[in-house]
Symmetry: C4
Subunit: 238 residues, 4 copies
């Protein structure tokens, strides 16, 4: 399809709405699970790990066949780099994802009983770590997650009976468990952007764009190069 | 079938029994998981999140093909609004769900070692939040959960190999993780009604009816309008 | 087959070994997860809930097609009552289950750093509850779990794509979350017998036989009577 | 294929890379989940149990069809003993697994804010236990895990619709919940080797080689002897 046709098609706009709603729900789940109870310390990484996993499983069922349920700019850029998405669609998806994430952060901020607890929303590098350490961990977390997405896509083309949405969900949980203590394990620039805008905390924010995107590109390219079964590159969404 | 035939059919009464038993088990799981141990503070949202998720997965296997395992008045009203249930069936299901939830709350209340801990059963708005904030969060939680139910129904008609019951279960868990710190994340008027009757705590109870029903209607209508693949509206249970 | 043939068949002895090993692993997982760390209080019900769930999922894959992976005397008695097992097989299975559970309790007791922590192995009624309350909760927990087992068996005969082992596993988790604070949520007489023998703690032990067996019988009979799709009663294991 | 051909084939080197990357991700997840937050005590066994389970599920999707996603020297040796792998492949896989585990331990050590917390990476026998107790628990944990792997392989040859990757993942979680309080529940010599090299802590390290390998061999042999359905021994990876 040409860009002009894309912009006129109903499916295209539904896919954008899907990315927006999907990111809204994903970021709501992660942020909601990170809020500590009154007079409690910050909850450990189990809460966001479970939240991101279950939200991704549910969202993959909701939007998997509409937009691929990418809900993550780094994944979208990786799909663009491996030529499974065209440029227009990738850019519009990323804009929708960022808008959905900001909306989620803003809704949950409005509902927060104590606005100071909004600091638990933000991905930040612990004071004892330097930026390179946090960046490396973000690359590792995102690499394994995006690699799983590509593997599941590959399996689906071969009609595997294994539930791929579950695999993608638990890969997100694994990523949070790997990196939460080091860098917050965002793995998703949109998830970091929303709270940064709402709270105005931008320190080291670039890490949560560069790290996930590097990890996702590395995963996409290495999967294509070393492990892809089918050489024919099909577009994810026709 | 006419109403008269419905009332005479064995399948109809089995479906009502299924809704009653299903809600009884669901509400038992959520309330049982919310009871703190002796001399402990209230357990965090992980307990009810896991409890509601696993109970829904199990119940979907038990009653999914008998009554749809709706076990939730807001979901039933949403199915009524999207014309997948008729009025008689919806009303009788809701009555059965409320009765099952009250039974569960009453059984667990009878077994409670300290009756004062029954306060952990009740959905309440934290003192720092106003009703509008809690209402908004209930709408958001229920929206994503009911949207997942509709998406899974849609997938099932196309013979997807992904396990849909798992997706519906984890969408419940995601809902609890989003909203537990804000509004208690009931997402189910029956689950809120049972403890309210047993403990006599009715403050802000309307939120747990209006919020979930609004979220469920919004999800049903938006799914039908934007994302439904098959235009033919089939009744969920014939 | 006659009893005489049964006793000579290799499959029969493999099935008994499967029940023994299965119960050994199940009870190891539940008891191992209940041990608190040094200088910690008893861990909450999340540990045994997850342990029993994951162990049952794994065991259903290991032994599901050999002996049905019942690993629970109350389930075996319920299958006997609904005529899916014959008397000899049921009795021998129960003996194997009890032996496996005792072995597990004894192995973990041998490995315990502090023998006093073996008290966390035992199912006991909290001091504030009376026996009737604990009995009622055991009936409820076991009812929903065994009902799920019957429903999954029913689904399997109709080639459902939903993963039944997962449903049975999470129904066990749901049972623990319902009843752990009230009665310990054993749902399995063998699981209660093992630690009782090893620690010599027999107070209220009868509850963990009568309760689960009543719940399992109730579930089996009500499923057969109200919800069973296929009237032909097939033996679970031929 | 002869050894010479193996060494020239692209698939062989991809499989080695898969084992290396897989072990890297698995060990990262387990170690990352074991790091306590600042000023916290060591987290309980739930964190590594969930981490190992979700990582194995994701990795089985990523590398299951490339190298079998063994990521565990004891499993590889067991597959060698049951003649599903040849000697060259087994040895090269084990080398790749150990290298991947060391890499993971080294990456996470580099990123650690406080190097003293690296002690939480190491599998060690609690001071109150002797080596025989820890060894026995490692045998039990690994036995049930490897037994599940064999059972799932068996099921796959018969086209079962149940999700086998999930079963293998939760069997890992069950193993950690059984043995974490006793021996650390490594079940994987590579997972123990990596931190041992990085921190230089070698006390009782032999337990984490002998125990898992004994358990895995026992599981493989007993499964083949008692429970294998198909007598034809197919190579896992051709």
């Amino acid at each position: 399809m040409t860009w002009r046709e894309d912009l006129r098609s109903r499916k295209f706009w539904c896919a954008i709405l899907a990315e927006l709603l999907g990111t809204l729900v994903l970021v709501s789940a992660v942020l909601g699970a990170s809020v500590p109870g009154p007079e409690e310390a910050a909850v450990g990484p189990m809460y966001p790990a479970v939240a991101v996993g279950v939200a991704i499983i549910a969202l993959s069922h909701c939007f998997g066949e509409i937009s691929g349920a990418q809900v993550n700019p780094s994944l979208t850029l990786s799909l663009l780099a491996t030529r499974r998405l065209d440029v227009l669609r990738a850019l519009v998806y990323i804009a929708a994802q960022c808008f959905g994430a900001c909306l989620a952060a803003w809704i949950l901020y409005l509902a927060l009983p104590f606005k100071t607890t909004a600091e638990h929303f933000v991905n930040r590098v612990p004071i004892e770590l330097n930026a390179a350490q946090a960046l490396g961990i973000e690359v590792l977390c995102t690499f394994q997650m995006v690699f799983t997405v590509y593997s599941v896509e590959d399996q689906r083309r071969r009609d595997s009976p294994e539930p791929g949405n579950l695999a993608i969900g638990v890969a997100h949980s694994a990523g949070v468990l790997i990196g939460a203590r080091f860098s917050g394990a965002s793995m998703n620039p949109a998830r970091s952007l929303g709270p940064a805008i709402v709270t105005g905390f931008w320190e080291n924010h670039w890490i949560y764009w560069i790290g996930p995107v590097m990890g996702a590109l590395l995963a996409g390219v290495s999967h294509e190069f070393f492990f892809a079964r089918s050489v024919s590159r099909q577009k994810l969404v026709a």
